[in-house]
């Protein structure tokens, strides 16, 4: 049992662990690199922006520094608006995550490289679109600020409020409030699909971070929840107090995301609301108290926008 044995043992240990990491990290990296962004992935990446988890451009996770998605009625498509100062999406800094062909199209036809020249701080704001290349049928990102001269502030000002969706801020809320501890974003194999919809395909989440698939399900899968239930009103009641619309739900109340004032600028009296609700549950009142409509810039609005965007 001289020292020599341990020298050999250490080398064998290195070989064993290195071999294992080679198989589980190095080999699959080739397969994962090949993934080409689908239209779904481009939409997810452009709606959530740089990162929906903790990052330096939103250190207190207030949903700040996030893009908005705007429905352009005249064009019949979405614009992804990054107001001045908003951190550019992942594809601008790491275009290779788009996949070879989508990267090429975005660079050549979409002029994405011009967005990279602006730097990550994005001083003038940026507008992106998703287009389909007619020849290859592949989607690509169009940097509309360069190709069409669109200004972020102008696009935002021209849009009606119901056409503006704060999905990026909403995804931050989804992460911060721990929605993913109980709701997966990955329909399971087999029967699950009949209820919760199709599982994602390779390339459906290129550039998305975090993917927040979740693992421990205590409520339904949400990957396609917006297709099952597109009612903003229902979502509003459900987030304020899930027991209003589903008496057996075990979901927590997220009334604190409303902030202090409602959409009309009225102060929300939570104590009174709870007292009225308790009276309603005790049978002293035939109807539950009204749920305040969340303000435009409230966290609740953003979270609802995000959940409804999960088509």
């Amino acid at each position: 049992m001289a020292f020599r044995e341990y020298k050999i043992g250490s080398r064998v240990f290195g070989l064993a662990l290195g071999g294992s990491m080679c198989i589980t990290l190095f080999f699959p990296s080739f397969n994962m690199r090949e993934a080409v962004s689908t239209e779904i992935a481009l939409d997810k990446q452009l709606t959530t922006g740089w990162d929906a988890g903790w990052n330096l451009s939103d250190p207190f996770m207030q949903g700040s520094n996030k893009p908005v998605r705007v429905w352009l009625e005249s064009e019949g498509q979405y614009a992804y608006v990054y107001p001045a100062g908003t951190r550019m999406p992942n594809a601008v800094q790491h275009p290779d995550n788009l996949g070879a062909i989508v990267e090429k199209l975005s660079m050549e036809k979409g002029q994405l490289a011009k967005a990279a020249e602006k730097g990550r701080s994005n001083p003038d704001g940026a507008v992106f679109l998703i287009d389909i290349d007619q020849d290859s049928k592949q989607p690509y990102i169009e940097y509309a600020t360069a190709t069409r001269g669109w200004n972020a502030a102008d696009v935002l000002n021209a849009a009606a409020d119901e056409n503006v969706q704060h999905i990026g801020a909403g995804k931050s809320m989804f992460v911060r409030e721990g929605c993913w501890w109980c709701h997966t974003l990955l329909p399971e194999q087999t029967q699950d699909w009949q209820v919760f919809g199709a599982p994602p395909m390779l390339g459906d989440f290129n550039g998305e971070s975090p993917t927040a698939f979740g693992s421990d399900r205590k409520g339904p899968d949400l990957l396609h929840v917006g297709s099952r239930n597109a009612s903003r009103e229902w979502m509003m009641l459900h987030f304020f107090n899930p027991r209003l619309v589903q008496p057996h739900s075990i979901m927590p109340r997220f009334d604190y995301l409303w902030g202090s004032v409602d959409a009309d600028g009225q102060k929300i009296d939570f104590d009174k609301w709870r007292a009225d609700y308790t009276a309603y549950r005790a049978g002293q009142s035939p109807v539950p108290p009204d749920v305040p409509v969340p303000a435009k810039d409230s966290k609740a609005r953003a979270l609802i926008d995000f959940v409804l965007s999960l088509k």
Partner: protein, 233 residues
């Protein structure tokens, strides 16, 4: 570091090295702990062998867990049968269909049991499936990169048909080369393969492991020898 292969089942060390090891083993105090030199009990060896075989056997996709678009094809083929069309209502018609195909391609039977279908769903699926069989995927919700007439490449979600999310083996053409897909990648099989490079790596990996452990263990003094532990420990 000589390897003595005269009796490799006992030890591959030289007698001198074994004597040195034995002496150290008996004299050294490792914090008041001593070790014996027993071999792995024979039943445990069998258990390990069984575990290794089971690991492969249980992982082979012998029973496809995921429903494919192919499982209802026999039902759809018999929808115009007079026995079905003359049934009193849809529920009866569905019963007739199920009875007409008692062992509907045995491997798919378990899937059919887990995925019951109604006549309304079959009516919605029928045109899509028939078009797919003819190589037309224009009517389905999410087609594959290359149209396939093999229905097992697709998955049924409710009444819509989508490409299965399997990233299986690469498809090869007649010369053995990979087939490029429109998006610049290569086409993959959309079914759970019975064999892929994962299993190949596994076999080499397991063999390397057991060979390595046997080599390590056979560098020790033979298991017929047991250290005598003094009271000073």
């Amino acid at each position: 570091m000589a390897w003595i292969m005269t009796n490799p089942l006992a030890t591959t060390n030289t007698p001198e090295q074994n004597e040195r090891d034995k002496k150290l083993w008996e004299s050294e105090d490792l914090g008041g702990i001593t070790e014996d030199n027993n071999r792995l009990p024979v039943p445990v060896v069998w258990l390990l062998l069984l575990t290794t075989l089971t690991a492969f056997a249980v992982t082979f996709p012998l029973w496809g867990q995921r429903p494919t678009a192919g499982i209802y094809v026999n039902y759809i083929g018999s929808m115009d049968d007079p026995k079905v069309t003359s049934a009193a209502n849809d529920v009866e018609a569905m019963k007739v269909l199920v009875e007409m195909h008692p062992d509907s391609a045995s491997l798919m039977q378990s899937q059919l049991v887990r995925h019951p279908v109604t006549m309304d769903e079959l009516r919605a699926l029928r045109p899509q499936i028939e078009a797919l069989k003819n190589g037309d995927d224009s009517g389905i919700a999410r087609p594959c990169a290359r149209t396939s007439s093999d229905l097992h490449d697709y998955t049924i979600i409710g009444t819509s048909i989508v490409c299965a999310n399997f990233e299986g083996n690469f498809l090869k053409d007649q010369s053995g080369a990979r087939i490029p897909a429109p998006d610049g990648t290569f086409l993959r099989q959309r079914q759970q393969p019975w064999w892929d490079q994962g299993y190949t790596i596994d076999i080499f990996y397991v063999i390397a492991f057991f060979a390595g452990v046997v080599a390590v263990v056979k560098r020790l003094p033979p298991s017929s020898w047991q250290p005598t532990h003094g009271h000073d420990h």
